[in-house]
Symmetry: C2
Subunit: 369 residues, 2 copies
């Protein structure tokens, strides 16, 4: 039995994927070439250069994991942690919790710092745990918590972590190219992101970058990385080696799309793109507050591109969200974990970050409420 | 710095990716929808049904790993093996060796059966190891060894494995939809494949299926699966659960492409597709032998879709392969491992399996040799 499929035409304003630029969709529809073709290899070099430019890093080990953001998270942790290692992980939402789960699967001893969802981790909380565990292998923290809309300040924490002789691991899935993120300046040692958020490429890839200090830890491992697929001691020969050694078959079409998405980011300009997300966020904020929505996160720690909001009193979020999808073809996200059924997550990321998107959403809400 | 990219127009006759059908490329260029959109969820059900139909299985736990075939391999092994488990792995090429590597990273004790590259594993070899290790957790074997072009008979081995009370794990990356493969009839307990071979979808996804016996082993694990990303105790709630629980963001565009590729397979008919690969293989064989190429694998164990051949005497494979790519835009594969520099691997898979493809290749070779 076969199944014709014609996807509906949605407006994507959830936590990702965001709308893709027609140029990105077109790039993906190019006929395939081999994953070891000299032209493809050259193009991988360009992707690497553009990821470096957009992360503001010179890290040589900058590459793209052939799987979604969660696999990027796992890549960072399985390559840096060995059984028995101690680490500190800050949890203020789903994704911090996921890092704890992965680190424990690596056999690491995790010191977990819990903060209320929607808040950010304070420097003092990390200081306190460093008293108990003075030299953890790494401290991991989420820059942009997609489940709560909180954006974590990193610079002071980075100093603290490096003074302790540890590595700083950062989740930037939702902030990358949509909010200020400066890998070298902020001293981030390992960072992962996703293709389907502010980059506006399809989901399925995870840009990752390791500092020299992180590479040194990788090179000095005593045990094999527990995942073959994510083992950077091998993957790096495919992305950063002198000879492109075959490791696995690279996802050719997805990388075509990512390449074009990165071009679009750099044509716009990184700072201009950050500024656009800020401007459209303020426009959305004004409109939503006028309708009775309330932001979950305090103003100074709000992610501009992923807006977590409580609905106006008496409104059932699931019913309204379904109507928005069915009647207006607009997708927004519901809450996860402790916020399930309680909030919306409205994404204005990449191509979905325009005043037109906000006006479509607000117009629909005005009619329905 | 930005980089315009216009991929060359290649004819793909290597070990994968193969040429994609224009309908598949078009499906991939559809605007994105959310990975939890009801329409996407419905489409995932269709993908599951079509993977079941093409694997000839009723297995409920049939799904697609959001990463390439090697991640499918890792999925099967990390979910079924726990530290201390004994297993038997048959090695007659690169991919059997990769399974050993992964199983050892799981902490399993591996009994390795080595056979010359290009040959298949004999039932008697497995019997002998079962004398030493009478009840391994699983026996893993490669149905279609992409590095050598050998196709492994499975039915007798399956009986032997099940009589020992073990699970049969099979790599079908290169045979799936291009050669007879009957999961339920042959009693395969865990199988993985790839999207970019005979399915002719882009690389990046791995169809996987687990039998009820394999699911029971999964459900009775004493330890957590070491990979979070590939942990089927969670992934199965996304692909086979009553409620689609969020696990990771599914690669929407790649699944659009896979869905269309599966439609094309079923429109042609599975047996008709197997027969087409056989017919074109025989045509290629006749032409190649006339040019002085010699097959690596004995006739009765040859994969029809991946042809490993020694070049005519005195021909430098790398030089000829580069000319074929540069002057004719035709890609064939070189050798891996012990066969590096010694053989070619000529793929006639899916959309690349036509007499026109063979004629393009042979015409170019006639001119160059």
């Amino acid at each position: 039995m076969t199944y014709p499929f014609n996807p509906p035409h949605r407006v994507l304003m959830g936590p990702g994927p965001s709308d893709a630029h027609p140029r990105v969709l077109k790039a993906m529809s190019s006929p395939l070439i081999g994953h070891l073709d000299p032209e493809f290899v050259r193009m991988m070099d360009e992707v690497k250069s553009m990821v470096q430019q957009t992360l503001l890093t010179k890290n040589n080990l900058t590459f793209v994991v052939s799987a979604p953001g969660s696999a990027g998270m796992e890549t960072c942790l399985v390559n840096l942690l060995e059984p028995g290692d101690e680490c500190i992980i800050c949890v203020n939402g789903v994704f911090g919790g996921r890092m704890v789960d992965i680190a424990e699967r690596c056999g690491a001893k995790v010191h977990r710092i819990d903060t209320d969802w929607g808040k950010v981790t304070e420097v003092s909380q990390i200081k306190k745990v460093l008293d108990v565990c003075p030299k953890p292998k790494l401290v991991a923290i989420v820059h942009a918590e997609t489940s709560t809309g909180a954006m974590q300040p990193l610079q002071e924490i980075s100093d603290l972590v490096h003074n302790a002789g540890s590595l700083l691991v950062v989740d930037a899935v939702t902030s990358y190219t949509g909010a200020p993120l400066k890998v070298d300046e902020w001293g981030i040692d390992a960072i992962y992101s996703g293709s389907q958020k502010c980059l506006s490429a399809p989901p399925g890839l995870s840009p990752v970058s390791f500092s020299e200090a992180a590479v040194k830890v990788l090179d000095n491992r005593k045990t094999k990385v527990q995942s073959w697929f994510l083992d950077l001691t091998m993957v790096k020969n495919y992305w950063a080696g002198a000879k492109r050694a075959y490791h696995h078959t690279g996802p050719v079409s997805a990388i075509f799309a990512l390449h074009e998405a990165l071009n679009i980011v750099l044509e716009e300009g990184l700072e201009e793109r950050w500024a656009r997300h800020e401007v459209v966020h303020n426009y959305l904020k004004m409109k939503l507050e006028a309708l009775g929505f309330k932001f979950v996160v305090d103003e100074q720690h709000r992610l501009p591109n992923l807006n977590a909001v409580y609905l106006p009193e008496g409104v059932d979020e699931a019913t309204l969200r379904t109507r928005l999808l069915n009647d207006y073809n607009i997708e927004v996200g519901g809450g996860l974990g402790v916020f399930a059924g309680k909030i919306w997550r409205i994404g204005i990321m990449g191509e979905s970050c325009t005043k037109n998107h906000v006006n479509m959403l607000v117009g629909a809400l005005e009619e329905m409420l």
